[in-house]
């Protein structure tokens, strides 16, 4: 059987995207001469990269518009398909050194942009309107003391009504909508009191404006202020959510949109066909080139390669897979081309299984927020009952004052302070944490983090860098020098994506290797300066010189040998080293009362070594995602509050099921999508700041709640007794809200961890520019 393959050129690779059947999934056709597409571009790591792409494509005839967003890595293109094919545009991006993938048109991007724009408009309407109404209110209050004529008072009142109406109907609409949804599902959520407070205060104010006398206060200023503050909180929450969703979107790219199908040609050779992924059927033969992602599960029928399955197993080392072995969709083919026969597609794949596990775990997430909502629900119900009782009582005693007193009760007990107590503190804490490299994606996470007493840690990528690093070079021959050996090794490993190669190539010398050939699973052979070298496994290197290499392997350390025709020259010890800040951070977290434990998918030796180094006695190795989940649940059953830190897709289900989950910013996107917090700076030291701040936040939330409750308990009887005029109630309510907000703002300042500017945070030029 001939294994000759008619190879696709890079150009043909993108041509698959010109076919209408493939395009249907992601191209938006405005009209025959204007198509739009959003591409996810890999390799953008700074703002100048996005400019490079825009400039590089701007000269192409037929391209109407291009905008590359440096923070989301999305490129929006619109072009005339009659004048330039999409493949040419994608090819140009690839030529610039980036890797474009089409994003499906029905992804959340469009929805997100719509939601963002609507929220921004509402926020600005509420903000500008609030300023106007405040101006009128100040004039009105001042006038009340200076003896303003009724003509002007009525004028300001109507103006406030005029401005407040669109704010209530437009800017506050989401609160009403959410409240109606809540009520129609027979529950009393946090939006119900908010909607009631806004609604009742507004309607009462309108009624007073038209039918009441001028001495009765109106509350338009309170209504708009309340709407603006709440809108602002929701807006900040939405931004954080979108940022994480953009990350999870990239997950859909871990399975490519197209696959290369191999079909038997006329001369008994394999012909390549680029097809859309949904067309792949079990039993078909697919080609995966080095650097590509395996599109489905299957068995290798030809070829041999190292595959990176860290996505699924979290294992730090690539596995060599040869004919007959299984490959898993989503793993990355690193070294050589392979042919494999598809066994499972779509929902039957291992990756889809993990995604389902994740969904289930998310459903079981402890719902702290539900409790808070229920309490607020009781509170609102209580206030409504009391207000009704008060109204009826006054109606019997003194009908003329019934409305005024009832309104005082409603306003004075407006759950503003109560409903602001938690969100205001959480928003302030979130802002502080974001500045310190800790992105909060779910508001309630800060509260839970403060209570956590158990810290579960993934090893690879969390405690360690997740990348191999040369820790020692041992010379095997006295005539060699280390500098020279490193340079030769770097030259030989140039251009390989294998983690070992990346580590050895960290500081490339000026040597160049020729005639490089990669022997998968064994090593690399090549010629440097006219001398023949081999680098790789001991037996492979020993073969070249014919001299034996006897070295006992050390646990957890990968050793790579270098040799020429005469002698083995050097041994490079590589290991996945601890992040520099890990040790200190673990010590501080333990001091803060969190018991650390390691749950790793890696083998026992490296896990043991890391655990010893950190002094952690509770560690578990070789765990599958479901094992990790079980470990976590066992601990939770003991009544412990779990914080989980992880970075891999294999951690995602555990992250989703933990009380509070923290993902590494350098980790996989799925892990980030299911996490409550993301450590942007990459190290656990940020988590120390996070724990400290979350505890402070919890303290402030308690103070706020106590204040709000005390205020209500004192004010309610006074109001019900008719001792509080509505204007006093309004001032009381505003003051209590203000105190709550000011208290929360204390979280913004205070001790900020001193962080040095990181080298990757700075603006840097892409090599292509």
């Amino acid at each position: 059987m001939s294994e000759q393959v008619h190879s696709l050129t890079a150009k043909e690779r993108f041509e698959a995207f010109d076919r209408p059947a493939v395009q249907r999934g992601f191209v938006h056709e405005v009209d025959a001469h204007n198509n739009e597409v959003t591409l996810m571009v890999d390799g953008i790591h700074c703002a100048s990269c996005s400019l490079t792409i825009e400039k590089g494509l701007s000269g192409i005839d037929g391209l109407k518009e291009i905008h590359v967003n440096a923070s989301t890595h999305h490129a929006n293109l619109s072009w005339d398909p009659a004048r330039v094919p999409l493949s040419r545009l994608m090819q140009t991006i690839a030529d610039l050194g980036f890797n474009p993938h089409p994003l499906r048109a029905d992804t959340r991007t469009a929805l997100n942009i719509g939601e963002y724009r609507a929220a921004l408009k509402r926020l600005v309407v509420a903000g500008l309107g609030m300023m106007q109404v405040m101006t009128y209110a100040v004039a009105g209050y001042a006038g009340a003391f200076e003896g303003m004529t009724t003509q002007y008072q009525q004028f300001f009142r109507l103006l406030s009504l005029l401005v407040a109406t669109p704010i209530v109907l437009y800017a506050a609409a989401p609160f009403f909508r959410a409240a109606i949804t809540d009520l129609s599902q027979r529950r009393v959520g946090m939006d119900v009191p908010v909607a009631l407070a806004i609604g009742i205060a507004y309607i009462a104010s309108v009624a007073i404006s038209f039918f009441g006398d001028l001495r009765t206060e109106v509350y338009f200023d309170s209504v708009v202020m309340f709407t603006f503050f709440l809108s602002f909180g929701r807006f900040a929450e939405m931004l954080a959510r979108h940022r994480t969703m953009a990350a999870s979107e990239a997950l859909s790219e871990s399975i490519p949109a197209t696959a290369t199908r191999l079909v038997r040609g006329a001369n008994d050779e394999w012909q390549e066909q680029e097809i859309a992924l949904p067309q792949v059927q079990p039993g078909e033969r697919l080609l995966v080139r080095p650097g590509e992602t395996v599109p489905a599960d299957g068995n290798i029928v030809w070829g041999e390669s190292a595959t990176d399955e860290s996505l699924l197993t979290g294992e730090s080392q690539p596995n060599t897979r040869r004919s007959g072995d299984q490959v898993i969709g989503g793993s990355i083919n690193l070294t050589g081309p392979i042919h494999f026969e598809v066994s499972h597609v779509g929902p039957d794949t291992v990756l889809s299984g993990i995604a389902r596990l994740l969904e289930r775990a998310q459903g079981q997430r402890p719902r702290m927020a539900l409790l808070a909502d229920r309490v607020a629900g009781y509170f609102v119900a209580g206030v409504l009952i009391i207000a009704t009782v008060v109204f009826l009582a006054w109606l019997a005693l003194e009908p003329g004052r019934a409305l005024t007193v009832t309104l005082s009760v409603l306003v004075v007990t407006c759950p503003c302070a109560l409903s602001l107590a938690t969100p205001a503190a959480l928003t302030a804490a979130t802002g502080f944490l974001a500045r310190n490299g800790l992105l909060v994606t779910r508001g309630s996470a800060v509260e839970t983090l403060a209570k956590a007493d158990t810290l579960l840690l993934d090893k690879t990528g969390t405690l360690t860098r997740g990348k191999l690093k040369v820790v020692a070079v041992r010379l095997l021959d006295s005539r060699q020098n280390e500098q020279q050996c490193r340079a030769v090794a770097a030259a030989l490993e140039t251009g390989s994506a294998h983690p070992v190669a990346v580590a050895l190539n960290e500081a490339p010398g000026d040597l160049v290797a020729d005639a490089i050939s990669v022997i998968a699973g064994r090593g690399i052979e090549g010629v440097v300066d006219g001398r023949h070298f081999r680098i790789g496994r001991a037996d492979f290197v020993a073969e070249l010189s014919g001299r034996k290499l006897d070295m006992a392997p050390q646990p957890g350390v990968t050793t790579v040998f270098l040799g020429d025709k005469h002698t083995p020259m050097a041994a490079f010890d590589l290991e996945d080293a601890l992040r520099p800040e890990t040790s200190a951070a673990i010590r501080q977290l333990r001091f803060a009362g969190l018991a650390p434990a390691i749950l790793s998918g890696d083998t026992i030796a490296p896990v043991q070594r890391v655990a010893d180094e950190l002094g952690i006695t509770d560690f578990h190795a070789s765990l599958l995602p479901q094992d990790k989940l079980r470990e976590m649940q066992a601990r939770r059953a003991q009544g412990r509050t779990i914080a989980m830190v992880g970075d891999g897709i294999n951690d995602a289900p555990v992250l989703a099921g933990a009380d509070v989950s923290i993902a590494m910013g350098s980790g996989s996107t799925l892990a980030q999508a299911s996490a409550d917090l993301i450590l942007l700076g990459g190290g656990l030291d940020r988590l120390v700041v996070g724990v400290r701040q979350s505890r402070k936040t919890r303290r402030i939330i308690r103070q706020n709640l106590i204040w709000a409750i005390v205020y209500n308990v004192v004010a309610l009887p006074l109001a019900a007794a008719g001792l509080v005029a509505p204007w006093m109630a309004a001032i009381g309510m505003s003051a209590s809200s203000l105190i709550v907000v000011l208290n929360a703002l204390r979280l913004l300042g205070g001790e900020s961890s001193k962080t040095e500017p990181s080298p990757n945070g700075r603006f840097h030029e892409h090599p292509a520019t």
Binding site: A47, S48, K55, G56, H67, A70, Y116, L162
Partner: protein
């Protein structure tokens, strides 16, 4: 003091104009990406890839 009956409606009209302008800016996507334009100034005008790359 009667001038206030003219000036405040004028202020309201200006407010409407400002909101209208803002809505237009949001609709045309001017607030969609607040990061990239900030660094655009830092790039040279002849920011083209070298030949053959």
């Amino acid at each position: 003091m009667n001038i206030i009956f003219v000036l405040i409606p004028v202020g309201l009209v200006l407010l409407l104009v400002a909101i209208g302008a803002f809505f237009w800016a949001v609709r045309t996507g001017q607030f969609d990406d607040l990061d990239t334009p900030a660094v655009r100034i830092l790039s040279d005008d002849d920011n083209r890839p070298p030949e053959g790359s």
